[in-house]
């Protein structure tokens, strides 16, 4: 099997806002790749540089230095945008247009024919939960409906890659659920997805890989499975019976004692299996076992806080 081609390539990207003394560096030398078929979550606190990076990918902002390429083309070129579906962070759609007309406009700009649009638009409205709303003026659409329409315009031409800035912004829980379903289908069809989100459960569910950005710099970039691995926490409550002694290997782990009960927390699944096995061999009574995993959100908050502390210490 051949190596997967990179869809997004950012190298030493620096983006600044403002001029002179009011210049602000929003993105500070970040490098990352997104390869074909990957679903990558781009997460960070407000003002971390997520939207700035995505806007640069789309050619709305221009880097001070570094390069960004999409599909091997310089970002912002017509060719690079031909194969991308983009959902902006916040966008209103022309209030004087009907949903169908708006999708005709965007589909037409993607090069779709009238015939293709006639078939695609009802299907698409159905997919995003706006069936029967095609002839309604957008001034009568709620924020959530506008966001659904935004998703529809982004995927109208079956683009090879999707770039979503704040994926589920403005959507209610049902909308988020529907969107997740749509994106999972798209992901399973082998399309590339790169999105920023504040909804970290969404990132956990959908993404293969996560890039965390803080104050314009990438602080972590890893597969979701790797990030979640050290976060698992197992707890065993047990007691030793009939004069059996605590195995030395378990004692070394420092279980907490409460009367004749022990409580042991372990954050490694293999060690956990071994300890359970050794306790059984040693004749211990295992009263309960439980596993708890920290969410990506907790991990992210810790990372951001520790990053802040390091800067404070420096």
């Amino acid at each position: 099997m051949g190596e997967k081609r990179p869809i997004v390539e950012a190298k030493d990207l620096v983006v600044e806002y403002g001029k002179g003394s009011r210049k602000v560096r929003a993105v500070d030398g970040i490098s990352f790749n997104v390869t074909e078929g990957e679903c990558v979550g781009f997460i960070g606190a407000n003002g971390a540089g997520k939207s700035t990076t995505i806007k640069t990918l789309m050619g709305f902002l221009f880097p001070v230095s570094g390069t960004v390429r999409m599909f091997g083309e310089d970002c912002g070129t017509v060719e690079s945008r031909r194969r991308i579906g983009y959902l902006p962070e916040v966008a209103l759609y022309y209030p004087f247009m009907k949903a169908r007309e708006l999708l005709e406009l965007y589909g037409g700009l993607q090069g779709m024919t009238k015939h293709e649009l006639r078939e695609r638009i009802p299907e698409l409205l159905n997919l995003v939960g706006l069936q029967g709303k095609g002839e309604i003026l957008l001034r009568n659409f709620s924020k959530g409906m506008q966001q659904r329409l935004g998703i529809a315009q982004a995927i109208i031409s079956h683009p090879e890659a999707l770039i979503f800035d704040e994926l589920s912004s403005g959507l209610d829980p049902v909308g988020r659920h529907d969107l997740r379903r749509v994106l999972l289908d798209i992901k399973n069809s082998g399309k590339t997805i790169f999105f920023s989100s504040h909804e970290l459960t969404e990132v956990e569910t959908l993404c293969d890989r996560v890039i965390m950005i803080h104050e314009g710099r990438i602080v972590t970039e890893a597969p979701v499975s790797d990030l979640m691995k050290p976060l698992n926490l197992f707890e065993i409550v047990f007691s030793m019976q009939d004069g059996n002694t605590l195995p030395e290997s378990v004692e070394r782990l420092g279980p907490a004692r409460d009367g004749n009960q022990y409580r042991l927390s372990i954050n490694d699944v293999e060690l956990y299996s071994r300890v359970v096995h050794e306790l059984s061999q040693a004749g211990a009574a295992i009263h309960s076992t439980s596993s708890k995993s920290r969410s990506l959100e907790e991990y992210f908050i810790e990372l951001v806080k520790s990053s802040g502390n390091e800067e404070g210490a420096a």
């Binding site: 789309m58 017509v78 945008r81 983009y86 022309y94 965007y106 935004g150």
Partner: protein, 258 residues
């Protein structure tokens, strides 16, 4: 459909669905209609007076509509962020701008079309005639004038805020209509520095009066249609300024961070 046409169509849909154009046409029609009630002319005089007022009102109302419509196209796109999904599609910023310009012109033509209906009905009601050749030339030059105003408004909206762009556009529209006469009157009385300034302004600023055939259309019995050479020269004159203003707007827009 081409991207330029698709974008233009969205501008036209907005213009047609918003109520402003109809309000402008209605108010202007009432103004024009009031002219028909005056009784200090004979019928021929009234027809000419009607024609003159109607054409002037139509020109002013359409000019103002074009300035407002063109000046707000880009700022509104930025403000409402509608520009992001649009420019994320495979179109260049030049295509986007051309689409907007065409859309404003289609809206101007729609506005003018409504006025024409009023004008033609009024003329026939008064029993007058429309000098077809001269009238078509009048319409053509009016559209060139509107195109120039739209290009100027685009550029102004890129360099100053929306309110200032509209204000400057309106000032230019009315000032340039009287500029030719004013320069002609002032030049002999000006000192050498003043004469130099007038000469520079004369060539630097587009003189919309040159593109206005209202007087000739009103007094069509004395004026035959313009010959082709003159029409070509006027087209080239307007075309030059349209290119300059549109080029300046595109230059400002092409690398503008969004």
């Amino acid at each position: 459909m081409t991207p330029v046409w698709l974008i233009a169509r969205s501008v036209l849909i907005e213009a047609v669905r918003r109520k402003e154009i109809y309000a402008i046409v209605l108010i202007s029609t009432l103004l024009i209609g009031a002219v028909m009630t005056v009784d200090f002319f004979n019928l021929e005089g009234l027809t000419k007076f009607y024609r003159e007022v109607a054409l002037q009102v139509m020109s002013a109302a359409t000019g103002l509509t074009v300035i407002v419509l063109a000046a707000r196209q880009l700022p509104r796109e930025f403000e409402n962020r509608t520009i992001y999904p649009l420019l994320a599609k495979p179109i260049s910023r030049l295509t986007f701008l051309l689409g907007k310009l065409l859309g404003v012109m289609l809206a101007a033509a729609f506005c003018y079309g409504l006025f024409m209906l009023v004008f033609i009905l009024g003329t026939f009601y008064l029993g007058g005639e429309i000098p077809v050749g001269l009238f078509l030339q009048f319409l053509y030059l009016q559209m060139l004038k509107m195109l120039l105003l739209a290009a100027l408004s685009f550029w102004l909206s890129m360099v100053v805020n929306l309110d200032a762009a509209i204000a400057l556009g309106v000032i230019f529209f009315f000032a340039s209509s009287v500029m030719t006469n004013a320069f002609t009157l002032l030049y002999p009385f000006a000192d050498p520095f003043g004469q130099g300034t007038i000469t520079v302004l004369n060539y630097a600023l587009p003189q919309l009066a040159l593109l206005d055939l209202t007087e000739k259309t009103v007094h069509s019995e004395f004026w035959p249609p313009l010959n082709l050479g003159t029409m070509f020269a006027l087209t080239a004159y307007a075309g030059f300024y349209i290119l300059v203003f549109f080029g300046a707007a595109w230059y400002c827009f092409r690398r503008r961070p969004l």
